[in-house]
Symmetry: C2
């Protein structure tokens, strides 16, 4: 921002106040307040003088005072599905940055992957007068939201599609998984295992669809025992991986359907003598140092795009609901380039 | 819960309703509503019959309907300092689990390490009628909260102390850092670098104090060039580490003051020929596979303890503010056991 460039960020407790602005401009406090709040009753000349004082001092309106006075600020709500999933960290922060740039607060909550909790949280946020909602849906019935949307609450679904007509911003789960599995096939693998999240989760089935597409493209018939969908609990994933790896004709490569699965898969493979190739969906911190090949989605871009759509709606955009699908990226780092042993 | 053991969790959309309870108990809907909401006007015998029907059907009161009707639910607020810091993931989830066990929703927000933003968010949550607040303070002036606390909003500070009289739950930053640095000294190091977060952050200075205590215990005089506090931005940390490692008499070991610093330190050290010992404060995902020795704080226990304190206050506990300090744990994995080269 130009303001930041011109003035060093004022220190907390030492910020210029409206009183400082009034003194510098040689006007009364009420006049400064009128200019700051765009109220009428100020001559153009006085307004210019106040504006110059504001610029010179680096004054910013104190939103906290406004909260106290009016009992509310502009705000949007974000409903995540798991507070502890690192994928949502950069996504949330990106949403927050866009919200902040629009002068709005972000309020988060988590459905903990429970459709009823999602509904409860969404309605609680609506009751707390958020202007808009970004929802990572846990449930697949969002009719409860239709009334809120009619009442003017803008809504964008993110990461997974919602089941009502609203904007949605997703990553290309199908295309990303297809590319990752094709990468393993290109390195000589045919017996490739897929371990993914629960089948009621849209991204899980999309990535499985990508796996099947890549296998079909290569003329490989997938055996039932190569595919395991379920919770991302480490014990479940470990058992699934070890079962595939200990079969009479074991898989020679694994495709893991998300970051939670990959973390456990890496641990399982680290304990084995025979190298097994691995490509994981989602990048993970320190995966570069461990040489883990991944299909990376840009979580920050997903969050940013969703928030920008939301604020466009709040600014009055009334075009038909948009569906945005952001591309993923293959990052080869070693584990996905191992040949079958 | 006993209820869950007796009844399989009812599927979403297929849950028993008050109408089902009324039919089974042979009473009217209003009677069921009275029992569920603990309203008067029901005979003990009827109440028992309704209760039996509730138990038999596995009926749970629909909180979403209550939100719609009353415009609010029980809720608490959590103010984090950085949505993308993985340390806060398990902490937030633990708070959420305790909140849920108490029938309350959790609403989060982030101060983005900005004291003014913290105040704005806290007041916005208060204006939205949360019953209590858990705050990871960014600022060091919380007088703005005194009025809210007087108005009945229970408050617990977590991770860092707040500057007003309220419950606080912290990790033993001083003791943990002291133990980690003593561990390096025990492995033969004397020239040990400390790279930490910004000095206005309580945990950063506490960990630096622990570093100095361990060095003093061992009779080592710390050189100025061995200590670097500042932002956890990767470029800043990289420069600090490389400066210490390239000095005429370089450090032989590093103590990194938090998870963000450790991640960059690991990358810097991975690129160097001569091995340098490293102990990091905070555990990191996959650190076990990379052999990174850490001082681990139990983020989930910190969150859980804070939430339990908050609900005890909400239940009426009026003892003097408590200060709880949870122990940390040294996890040796290799990087902290390297000897000076």
């Amino acid at each position: 921002m130009a303001e930041t460039a011109r003035h060093p960020e004022p220190r907390y407790g030492n910020r210029p106040t409206m009183k400082d602005v009034a003194a510098r401009a040689g006007v009364g406090l009420k006049t400064v307040s009128r200019v700051v709040n765009s109220e009428p009753g100020v001559t153009p000349d006085t307004e210019r003088r106040v504006q110059e004082a504001i610029d010179a001092l680096g004054f910013r309106r104190n939103d906290s005072a406004r909260v106290l006075r009016k009992g509310r600020t502009a705000s949007i709500g974000l409903v995540l599905e798991d507070l502890a999933d690192p994928f949502y960290g950069p996504l949330s922060r990106a949403v927050e940055e866009v919200a902040r740039a629009h002068g709005a607060l972000l309020i988060n909550g988590s459905s903990a992957e429970d459709p009823e909790r999602e509904q409860e949280l969404v309605l609680a946020l609506c009751a707390r007068r958020v202007d808009g909602l970004i929802v990572i849906p846990a449930g697949d019935d969002h009719r409860y939201l239709e009334q809120e949307i009619k009442a003017g609450i803008a809504t964008v679904f993110v990461d997974r599609p919602g089941r009502i007509d609203a904007d949605m911003v997703l990553s290309d789960s199908f295309g990303g998984a297809r590319q990752g599995v094709a990468h393993l096939i290109a390195h000589g693998h045919r017996r490739i295992g897929f371990i993914g999240d629960q089948p009621r989760i849209h991204t899980a089935t999309e990535r499985l669809r990508g796996y099947h597409a890549a296998m079909t493209d290569a003329g490989i018939t997938v055996e039932d025992s190569w595919v395991s969908l379920g919770s991302t609990d480490p014990d479940r994933v470990r058992l699934a991986a070890e079962t595939m790896l200990s079969a009479p004709e074991p898989v020679t490569a694994l495709f893991s359907g998300n970051n939670r699965v990959t973390v456990t898969a890496v641990r399982v493979l680290a304990g084995r003598e025979r190298p097994v190739a691995l490509v994981g969906f989602d990048d993970i911190e320190l995966a570069d140092l461990l040489g883990i090949t991944v299909i990376s989605q840009d979580a920050a871009a997903v969050g940013r795009t969703a928030a920008e759509h939301l604020f466009r709606r709040l600014d009055g955009a009334d075009h038909a609901p948009a569906r945005v699908e952001l591309p993923t990226r293959l990052i080869p780092r070693g584990s996905g380039e191992l040949r079958p042993s």
